[in-house]
Structures are given as structure tokens and as C-alpha cells.
């Protein structure tokens, strides 16, 4: 069974699960949830469309070699800082982000720098923030979440430096 199919089964299974709970509370609860969810979907589709259909162009004009170059070989805290900026600036989805990390690791990038890159990508990748997080969440929350997350790629790199790679 492919991972994507498993994720879809878990996802729709959860929807049916919470849907049954709503239905037990009465038909009105079920109907109002369905209406609210559908309205949200209709409201969000144009934003997702712009992001998904447009993101290929953004990814195509930012050459991946530039980002891999930033990660460079073992370079201490300056390397960690560039890794964090590179992580936030990486366009495209998980394949791009993780592949760049894998290339940097193979090219001799230090493990703490690659950790910082992957964690920064997970926290700040601009495309995910703009395409997914801002459309769904209050903008105030998103900026606040990003701001308080800033120390954590550095902390992850520091932990990696202390415990070392197994």
C-alpha cells in the first residue's frame, strides 16, 4: 500500500469519525458543520489554486544549485545561519527541500548545518507559509508563530553539535 493511499485512508477515516460524532449530536450539527466546511473549501480553493499552480514557476526560477552552494561544507555558526536562510528560501515541496538536504550531506555539508536547514525548511519554507498557512490561519498567528520559531533551527544545530551524529 502506498504512503499516499494510507494517508488518504487515515484522513477520510478521521473525517468520517468526527462526522459520526457530529451526527450523534443531531442532524443540525452535522448539516451546519458540512455547510461551514464546504464554505471554507470554496473560499480557500482560489488561494490554493494560485499557490499550487503558480509555485512551479517560482521553483523554476530559483536554481537549486544556489541553495546547495549556500549550505557548503562544514562552516560553523555562519554555515548554520546560511542554512536557516536557505531553508526558508527553498521553493517547492518536500521533495525539493529534502533532496537539497541530501545533496548537501553528500557534498560534505556538516550534519548540524543540514539539521538546521531541514528544521528551518520545515518551520519557515516561504512557499508553505504563504500558500497554506496564511490562507487558513489568522495572519497575526502566522507571523507570531514564525517569529517565535526563529531560535529553534539554531537550537537544533546546537543539540546536533553537542550529541554528535550517531
Amino acid at each position: 500500500m502506498s504512503a499516499a493511499l494510507l494517508i488518504d485512508i487515515l484522513l477520510w477515516g478521521s473525517v468520517v469519525g468526527v462526522g459520526l460524532i457530529a451526527w450523534q449530536r443531531g442532524n443540525a450539527v452535522l448539516v451546519s458543520s458540512l455547510r461551514e466546511g464546504s464554505l471554507e473549501f470554496i473560499n480557500i480553493v482560489p488561494r490554493i489554486a494560485l499557490g499550487v499552480i503558480g509555485s512551479g514557476y517560482i521553483a523554476a526560477v530559483i536554481p537549486q544549485e544556489v541553495i546547495t552552494g549556500w549550505l557548503g561544507p562544514d562552516s560553523g555558526w555562519l554555515g548554520v545561519l546560511t542554512a536557516v536562510i536557505a531553508g526558508a528560501a527553498t521553493p517547492g515541496g518536500p521533495v525539493v527541500g529534502f533532496s537539497i538536504g541530501a545533496v548537501a550531506l553528500k557534498a560534505g555539508g556538516g550534519a548540524p548545518q543540514v539539521i538546521a536547514y531541514v528544521v528551518a525548511w520545515a518551520l519557515f519554507a516561504f512557499q508553505r507559509v504563504i500558500l497554506w498557512e496564511i490562507p487558513f490561519m489568522p495572519a497575526k498567528f502566522v507571523w507570531f508563530r514564525c517569529a517565535v520559531s526563529v531560535p529553534f533551527p539554531f537550537l537544533a544545530a546546537a543539540i546536533a553539535m553537542v550529541i554528535g551524529k550517531p
Binding site: A22, E40, F41, G54, Y57, V95, V118, P151
Partner: protein, 194 residues
Amino acid sequence: MKEPPADDAAEAEPRPGRVRKPIGWSMIFILVLVVVSAVLVWRRDGIDGVLEILTHDVSLFGGIMPRVLAGCLLGAFITEILPHEKVSRSLGPKSGLKGLLIGTAFGAILPGGPFTAYPVAAALLTVGADFGATIAMVVSWTLIGYGRAVAWELPILGTDFTLWRIVISLPLPVLAGALGRFVYARVYPRSTDE
């Protein structure tokens, strides 16, 4: 500091609907970025390059749509069925370390991708979770959630690196949530009772 209103008073009020956002600056920014990038691709690769990316992304979009719908429905059901006063007790500003741990656990086990994580996180905010617990949930989903790790990180970066990265990341959601709560109470001192 004022206690939140009594439960019956909270229930008597209409539930806060989720705010529908108008097309804002972030969308205009993205639109400009997309148009400029598309023009650059057109100048470099011609119309074929533009159409190739368009075809690929439209099919990607078609594949994602059902999951976005599932995420929206999940968010709506959660908003409707979770009791507000219980959520604000277990995930609100005064929920302490336990609230951050619940948020972290929730983010780690949540199935799906960004199409579920953000609608569900928005639903939690609506029903009374504070910024701290919601930050713990979002950061936990992105750093220690299994969905992306299993589907993408393991095959590309290998088991050793992925597990090592996840172990290092384990404390981060709680720390991010705690920092968020600490900063929030100082930046918005009046709204912590909400």
C-alpha cells in the same frame, strides 16, 4: 486577571464563526511573484516551458483538491464538536505544560499534510486554544509528525538521519509553545483572558 466567563454564559453566545479572509496583501504578493516568475520562465524556455509547468501544476492541484476538502471538513467538525470550555481549559492560556504537551501530541498524530494541519489548527484557535498550544501543535506537526517523515524524508534522507533529526526535534514544539505563550502574554497583555 479575570477568569473566563462561566460556561453557561459562553454557551449562550453564538459560536464565533471562522473569519473569512478577504483577498489580502499576501495573495497579491504571491500573484505578483508568480506572474514575474512565469514571465522569466517564458523568456528563458518559451511558451512550451510555461505550458509544461502549468500542466504539471494543474494535475497536482487536481490531486490535492479532495484532501483540501477533507481538511476543511475535519476543521469544521472539530470546531462544532469540541466543547469550547473544555478546550480552553486543556489548551488555553492557563493550561500550563500539560496544554503544550497535548498540543504537541495532537500535532504529532494528526494524519495528512498542510491541508489538514492548518484547518485543524485554525479550528483549535476558534474553540479556545491559545497561541502557545496552537504553536506547539503546528511546530509538532511540521517537525515530528509522521506523515511527511514517512512519505518523503525517510526515502530521500535515509532512516539514520531522519530518526536523528526527529529525536533532536522532540523538545522543540513544547519550547516553541512555551516561548510563544511567554511572548504573547507580554505583547498582548490584555487579551490573554480570551
